[in-house]
Amino acid sequence: MQVFKSYFKILRRYVGQVLMWLGIFIGMMMIILNVSSEEKTEYTDKQCLFACVDHDGSDISKELTAYLSEHHERVAGIDEDKESVQDALYNRNIHCYLVIPEGFGEAVKAGNADGMLKLMTIPGTDTASLFEGDMNGFMQKLSTLMAAGYDEGEAADIIGDSLKEHAEVKLKGNKSYFSKQERLYSYIPWILLMQLANVITPILMIYNKKELRNRIECSSYKYVNINKELLLAVIITGLGVCVPYVMMDGIMLRDNLLTVQSGLYMANMLVYMLVAVNIAFLFSKVAANDQVVSMLSNIVGLGMAFLSGVFVPMQYLGAGVIRVAHFLPAYWYVIACENIYKNGSGKFGVTLQAMGVQVLFAVAIFMITLVVGKNKKSIQN
């Protein structure tokens, strides 16, 4: 097992790389998992963030702001100047900024308050539509009731009573929601590829150096044994790199580790690990030095992550991008993850099919690597 041992001696040099990527991943996961919301089974209305300045101070304007504050979230501390409002809107600190001008209450009573409220927002957005509809609906009701002879207080009371009338909503699943476990595992294709490519590839490149390879090949050590030991070492490295993620699953998401779903997630990760190992193997045949490995791994890793639904959920990707993604192994990994989350062991065929495609990708990449390696060797010789 000399080659096997020498591999791990060289590997020590790259432990820092593994830990660095692991640190980056843990940091990212802490942010992502902290902002992930809990899954809801009952529907609740979304609230808009709004700021408001009331120059009128009339009973009507107070009723309006009270209604809006009850149904949406009022944000304080944003000045009325254009740039402050602009910054707050761009960063989505608020969705709307309402200015109630002086004399608004009187204008409503007189029936000529059309277009008096100034609403600064991002036109055409769903938040603007919701807020505008709600605000205008309230004002229409209020003015109608006042036209019917009720005063502001009575009108507000009737509106308050009318709020008991609302449409019942049945939430049938929540398609935008993904569990924390799904989020954790869905980032694996990126991190696994970065780690394995930056660790395995440089080591394999050392064994590919002409002088070293010639020296090994002219020794009494069998060629088959060399390859077997390298293969074993590479797979052990892959498994070793996967272990922290299983531990993260266990530590960060305690309740889920011993479930069928977790088993399927792990199986999917191991299948993708084979893909990543083969990509690393391919890189070792085409890269000239460590810097080229870094370039290749960044381009391939980030490219696959963006195009396959790792960084941006698949529902937001365009149809063209999805079509391209079918030719990337990470896409099938994500498909498997989504199916495991939504159906657990149900619809197992979909998960199995996605894993099968990944295995085919691994085999195809392996074949390509052999061809590239053979051509390179013949050129060198």
Binding site: N91, Q140, S176
Partner: protein, 377 residues
Amino acid sequence: MFFHNFKYCIKTMINGKVTLFWTLIFPIALATFMYMAMGNLMEKDEMFKDVKVALVEQETDNSLMLTTLFSSIKGENDEALIEPEVMDEQEAQAALNNDEVCAVIYSGDCHMDTRDENYKTSTVKNILDQYLQNSYMYKKIAEDDPDKLSEILGSMWGDTVFYTEEATTDGSQDRYNNYFFAIFAMSCLFASFSSLYTTHNIQGNVSALGMRRNISATGKLMIVCAEYAAMLMVHFVVELITLLYMKLLGVDIGHKYPAVVLTLFVGCMIGLAMGVIIGSIRNIGVGGKIGIAVGVSMVLSVMADLCVSGLKNMIEMKCPVINRINPAALITDCFYTLNVYDNYNRFTKDIVTLVIESVLLVAVSILIVRRNKYASV
């Protein structure tokens, strides 16, 4: 001698493909991937249009009223924002499961089925709520004073709009543009890799080339000035290529191109100045210095929204002084202000800060490396 050094520095940079990869190819590739994944994200995620709902007719039928109500929700150009379609229940549920509609509305009691809890479904629900609440209100008025009902009936579903919607800018409000601005910032800061080598290579105690240069007749200041000018020119051209590519890709960077070009020029200056100061650190090998440059550039760029949108805004809320001095944040802020502001006040402040930071870093670096004598190396 100035032009000799200038020319050879350019040749060295063009031959040194690694730096060109990280400053040109990598940002272009990253921008391409990001644009493919996120170029249309605001349109899909935030805009309220083409909202399809299924309407299931029931015995107590409000479907005609609801169809009219939904169809009356119009956009800026008078286009219908919600498209109601009458379906039978089975068909409607299948459409909901296949994401062809965002909600199924039952016309009898106006209840609604959905698979998503977002602003679009909330808006649809809000319209239903308004309908039910208005019906309640009519009944109430009719009970209290039936004569009033006929008087106000006309005004109830009238077109009274109490607000005037106002956009605060003509520029793009797509916050996902921040990612592309941050790519420019990262690319500018990656210019530090080039200047780092240059400063490293004029120090006799850490580089073989430095030893050779220290015994030559050419002064260090001349070498530094020539090489700095060459690097600035190459990186500026690289940034212009990236800008052109992003424009062709479709990234919205506004129309104030002279100011955008100035931002990139000053961005390259600060990137190079960072490299100069890192390169002048004594007793650290070039590998260590590259590590520092990568780490600093990446951390500053991530803080300017390179990886997580909203991080810069969070820093602005908690500790704004960081955004006032972080060069990457200042570069992205220049792009932002040019895109959405109609004046140059904040842009000028950002540019001046970047220039001051560049001058300070280079000045400190000169103080560190000037008049160094090496008795033995």
